[in-house]
Structures are given as C-alpha cells and as structure tokens.
C-alpha cells in the first residue's frame, strides 16, 4: 500500500524542488542586494533592517530623471536616527537601528531647481512606516510637477473602486480554495503559497530572465496548472487513497505551506520587489476617480477570467461534473462521473487561478515571499462569507471582503483595515454559518 504511492509523491516533490532550484542561479544576482534573514520569531542572529529607494522625477511626458543630492531624514519616535543623501542615480539606502515605527522626511529645500513633490499637501514630504524584523523597506516619494491632483477625487467612490480591485483578486484566488474544499473536503492552508509562487515565477521570467510581464504571467499560470495537478497526483490523491483523515490532511497542508513559504524566502529573499514593467504609473482620472491604467487592466482581466470560469462551471460537461462532485461526491461517483479526474481538474484550475491572482496582486502591490499568506486569511473570510465549497459564493464573498477592507479605511486607521473584514467573518459565523450562498447541511 505504502510503496505504491511513495514514488509519485517523490516525483511531485522533486518537480517542485526542481522548479525552485531552477531559480537559484537566476535569482541569486537580483537577490543579493535585498537578501534578508528570516523574520522568524526565534531567529537569534541579528536581522539587518534597512530603508532604500530611488528618487526619480517623473515629468508628465518623457523619461524619469534621477534626483541627485537630495536629503532624507529618518526619525524614530521624534528622534533623528540618520540622514541619507541620494547618489547620482537617485538611489539611497541606509540601515535603521531595528524593527519598529519610523518617519522619513524628504528635505524639500535640498531638492534641485524644478523638482517638487506631486502632491501639494502640507506633509507630503513625510512618510510614516513600520519595519518588521529583517525587512528592507522601499520608500517612495512621488516627484514631478505639482499637479494639484486629488482635489476632485471622491473618496468613498475611489475606495469602492480599489475595493473592487482587491475583491476581484481575492475572488480569483479563492475560487480554487472553495472548489478544492467542495470536491475533497480539504481546507488547503497551502493555497496562499500557490499565490506567492505565481507572483515569484512571473518575477523570475520577467525581471531575472528579461521577458515582458505578459508572457511571463502566462508562463506562471502554466506553472500553476502543472503544480496544482502535480500536488493532487503526487500528494493528495495518495493520501485520500490511503484513507487519511481530513484533519490529518489539513495538518499536512500546513506542513506543505511552511516548507514552500520558507523555500520561497530561501530563493527570493525577504525584500519586496516590483516587476520590470508597469511598476510606477501615473493615475488617470475617470470622472471623480483616479486609477492607474495597470489597475484598470487588472480588473478587466479578472472580470473576463471570472466570467470564463463561470461559463465553464455552468455550461461545460467538466464544469457540471465539478458542481456535481461538490454537491455530493458519492452520488456523482455512482452516476458515472470520474471523481478523481474531476478533482485533478479542480486542483489544476485552482492552481492556475491562484497563480494569476498572484501576478495581479504582485502588480497591485509588489512581489514578496509571504504575500500569499497575507492574502490567505482574506480568502478564508471571502469563502466563508460566501459559503464554503460554493464557487459563486467564493466570488460574492470575496468581492464583499475586498470592498469592506478598503471602505473601512473611511472610519478605521489603514493599518487596521483587514481587522474589520476578519471581525465580519466571525459575526457571519454567529448569525449564518453556512454563508450567503451556502446550504446548512455543509456545516454540521
């Protein structure tokens, strides 16, 4: 019994490791500058916290110009802890005393003639930020010609658009999570790692190997399909055949998540890094809302893909089979559906969607080794809100979570924006545990 499944398991893990090793020499060069030790709680070695960035003036038309000799003062609790001056490339970097809250002030008087901050706001030259152990933080000051932008922006509407963008990303990633739960009963804690994996593979092809982001993203999605399928065939299916309990499998998924996440930290380093294209874009105004073109594209892609997945589920044979297995596995099996085949497709589809979500999330924020884990809890909130195991519920729930996270910043500090979504999750469980689109029988 055992011997039969050890081999495919090894093959899958070897494949995973191969993909990671493939990245070693390639990533090593770019990783050096921002390589950071693990932020794990128990690490005794001294982590090196630092801030860095590049001051570029971005005129309305034409290429960005580096800003030489500008001064930036770093403060902690009101006390000055260091001053940095930018070099000829506009780059600056400096260590800070340790993790904690900081404030960086760009000395406006030190800027060359004709360079000013984009925003007219009084404190636009001051950034407040916090640094986690071992983190290398990128500081971004927006320079250009003062545009007086922001005056016509309607804040609730702006946040609604940003909430939709986030909700769509959560939706794309959580459909896989929900379908996997629906067809196999597994709560897959390693789903967030699939998201980071997608973003990092796209980064590898985009930045390290110099491909444009679009083909790089398509390659990443392909890797997502393959990895999803390989995990099902190599790990989860043998465990199911062995009769491993769902709780044991859940713990296995946590082990996988740890292995994978720290593996990505090993390869990618602890920094957050942008893609080569589209990383900085000037927002365009659409009525009372300002949005960068990349975000419009991201939302358009998400909507098209989600409609595609919806049609797949409603109209195609395999989609109907997925919903049937989700509804009642035994009944589906007895009516001639090849359940294992359906589960394999669900894993591949979930993997592909999660990697796409990772690329989009990396585009919206930046690429980091733990971005997926941060998204995972929002995904859980989304799928539970919508109803665990239902694909459309996951979508509706995710959109609500995305909107809720962004709109809540109207009343709570931005650093607590996820808290509102998490509290909603607990409240929903109290009132309607099956979620918005779920059915009561699933929960008991």
């Amino acid at each position: 019994m055992r011997a039969r499944w050890i081999r495919p398991c090894r093959v899958a893990l070897a494949a995973l490791l191969f993909v990671q090793l493939l990245a070693v020499p390639a990533l090593a060069e770019t990783a050096q500058e921002s390589e950071q030790p693990s932020e794990a709680a128990s690490d005794a070695e001294e982590p090196a916290e630092s801030v860095r960035g590049t001051l570029l003036q971005r005129p309305e038309d034409g290429d960005p110009v580096p800003v030489d000799g500008a001064e930036i003062i770093i403060r902690s609790n009101g006390e000055e802890v260091g001053t940095i001056v930018t070099d000829a490339d506009g780059a600056f970097e400096s260590g800070v005393p340790g993790p904690g809250d900081y404030e960086a002030e760009l000395v406006v008087e030190s800027l060359p003639e004709g360079v000013a901050l984009t925003s007219d706001a009084e404190d636009a030259n001051v950034l407040e930020f916090d640094i986690a152990p071992g983190q290398s933080r990128t500081l971004l000051f927006r320079l250009g010609e003062p545009s007086g932008g922001g005056s016509g922006v309607n804040l609730p509407l702006q946040l609604t658009v940003e909430g939709l963008k986030l909700g769509l990303i959560i939706g794309i990633t959580s459909i896989g999570l929900s379908l996997i739960f629906g067809t196999t009963g597994l709560v897959n804690f390693a789903h967030g790692e699939m998201v980071s994996f997608g973003a990092i593979i796209a980064y590898l092809f985009n930045v390290t190997l110099g491909l444009h982001l679009v083909p790089a993203a398509i390659i990443a999605i392909f890797f997502g399909f393959l990895t999803g399928a390989a995990l099902d065939r190599g790990l989860w299916r043998p465990l199911r055949e062995r009769g491993t309990s769902l709780i044991a499998m859940l713990v296995v998924s946590i082990g996988l998540s740890l292995l994978w996440r720290y593996g990505m930290l090993f390869q990618f380093g602890g920094g957050t890094r942008p893609y080569a294209q589209y990383s900085v874009q000037r927002a365009v105004s659409i009525g009372p809302v300002q949005i960068a073109p990349k975000d419009l594209w991201s939302m358009a892609i998400s909507i098209i893909v989600l409609i595609g997945v919806g049609l797949l589920l409603l109209r195609t044979r395999i989609g109907k089979a997925m919903r049937a297995v989700s509804d009642n596995r035994d009944l589906a099996a007895s009516s001639g559906i090849n359940v294992e085949m359906v589960v394999l497709v669900v894993w591949a589809l979930g993997g592909g969607l999660a990697t796409l979500g990772g690329v989009l999330f990396g585009l919206a924020e930046q690429v980091s080794w733990q971005m997926g884990f941060q998204l995972l809890l929002l995904m859980f909130a989304g799928v539970i809100l919508g109803g665990l195991g239902t694909a459309f519920g996951a979508l509706v729930g995710s959109l609500i979570v995305g909107l809720f996270v962004q709109l809540s910043t109207l009343v709570v500090p931005p650093e607590l924006k996820n808290v509102g979504a998490f509290l909603t999750l607990i409240l929903v469980l109290l009132v309607r545990p099956q979620g918005i689109l779920g059915r009561a029988e699933r929960i008991g």
Partner: protein, 329 residues
Amino acid sequence: MDFAVIFRDFVRAAIGDSAVYFAVAAVGLNLHFGYTGLLNFGHIGFLMVGAYGLAIAVTFFSLSMWAGIIVGMIWAVLLALLLGAPTLRLRADYLAIVTIVAAEILRFVFRSVWAREVTGGSFGLTQFARDFYAINPFPEGRYGIWVVNFSERATWVLVAGWALAGLCTLLVWALARSPWGRVLRAIREDEDAARSLGKNVFAYKMQSLVLGGVLGAFGGIVLAINTQSVQPDTYSPPVTFFIFTALILGGAATVVGPIIGSMMFWALLAATNTALRQAVAAGYIPDELMSGTQIGQVRFMLVGLGLMLLMIYRPQGIFGDRRELALER
C-alpha cells in the same frame, strides 16, 4: 565539524527558554487537539493575551506582576469564550479558521499606532517582570554541568518554567483520566455518540477550550517574563504551527508528549542550525547553494517537511498510540 559544540547547543536548546514556553503552551494545545479534537490554529493568540495582559497591567495600570498574571488568565478565558461561541457547534475547520484569524486581529490591533499608548505599538512593552527576578533564590553565578550552563537569571526562569510545565502536565493528566476527561475523548472520537448519551457536547468543548487557552496564556507569560518584553511580531501565525509540530512530534493525547516534543523540537532545530552553520563555514556546503543568512530558512523548511512526514507516516508521534488518536472523522 565540532561535535561538542553541536551537542552543547542540542542540550541547551532542549532545556532552554524556548523549549519551556513551548512545553507549557503545548500542554494546553494537547488538551484542545489531543484530548478534545479541537483544531485550534490560533493558539498563539492565547499566548499573546497572556503576555500582553501581564505587560499592560503592570506598565499601564501599575498593578503588581502577580495581579498581571491573573489579568492575563482572565483575558484568555474571555478570548476562548469569544472564539468558541460561534464555532464550536460547526465543523472542525471553522474553529481552525476563526482562531487563526482572531490571533491575527489581536496582533494587528496590538501593533497599531492607534493602540500605541497602551500596547507600545510595534515596539511593544518592556520591564514588567521585576517582581519575578526580585525573588530569584539563585545567587549570582553560572549553573549547569560541563559545557551546558546558564546565568542565575536564566536558571531561575528555567526552574520556575519547568516547574510550571510539570504542574500543568499533572493537572491535564489528572483531568484526562477523570470522568470529565473521558467525555472529552468520547467527543473527539464520536461527537454524536457522546451527544446521544445526553452529554452537553458544546459545554464540554467550551470548558476544554477555556482551560487549554489559560494554559496557553501561561506559556505566553513564561515567554514574556523570560525576555522582559512583549513585541507583537513575536506572536505571528507560524508559531502556532511550530507548537503543533512539537506536540505531534512528541505525541498528541499523551501525558509527556507535549513536554518531550517541545524539547525535541528545539533541540533538533538548534543542532541543525549549528551543524549547518559549521558546514557552511567549513565549505562543505558550497556558497552558491546556501549562504549563511539562508540557514534560518532551511531550518524552517525542515520543520514544514517534518510536519508533513510525521502526519503521513507517524501521526501518533514518538510516544503516541495510534489507536488513541485515530483522528478519523
């Protein structure tokens, strides 16, 4: 390779400060996961409220440290009630998700600028355990045998910590073999059967969640007293999974499993760390493959792999009995 150094780090970690707070916390988690079958993935939340309850009571409300410990316990009870009420009637996975989410809520709130006056924000709080060190019975010096020794301060923490771990183990052992403990195990094996015998399953689960949560809070208190500081990012989600790994390594639903598991967990981590460090320094592992800063990450990859392999091949851990913990449902 200097095997004496590797051995020293192995032993030091096995009885050291990390192992002792893990052991206390794991005894509580064992009550949840091992005896009752509750999937508490936010155990770190209990450690956090214990530690912060103490720290805030002392630094902000100027209570004595001993009163602070009681405040930490009360917080843990409240947290358990809050977590259990919506989830204990549902499938096991719901508790898992809600507990991990709740622990993250607490961490976000504690580290926020908004709560900085009370919690110290992302810097945390320090210097709240003077009362504990004031009664240190060990005179100045180093204690231990051969290459393994600790300062008088560390010795006092370890002696008190392991005594607490022992007391908690005794308590859970006594409870587990009482009629109350038998009901818990019945619930773990078959909830419906226990219910059909007229047991109030929800109430029993809640009692287990509260008691295990308080033990978790003790774990957090041991950690906080040892470092004389609380810092929110010490209490991040992976730590819960490390405690789980330690518990499963030793054997869930066994008396000494959590203790031995925590000792093994940290001893193995420390030994691998030292061995890898020496291997990299001596050039046995080429630089292109692994640099010094990457050793920490390899250790935690090994933890993940270890957890997977344990759960697949030996879910009962080192001391466990497979029949005791079938985990089927």
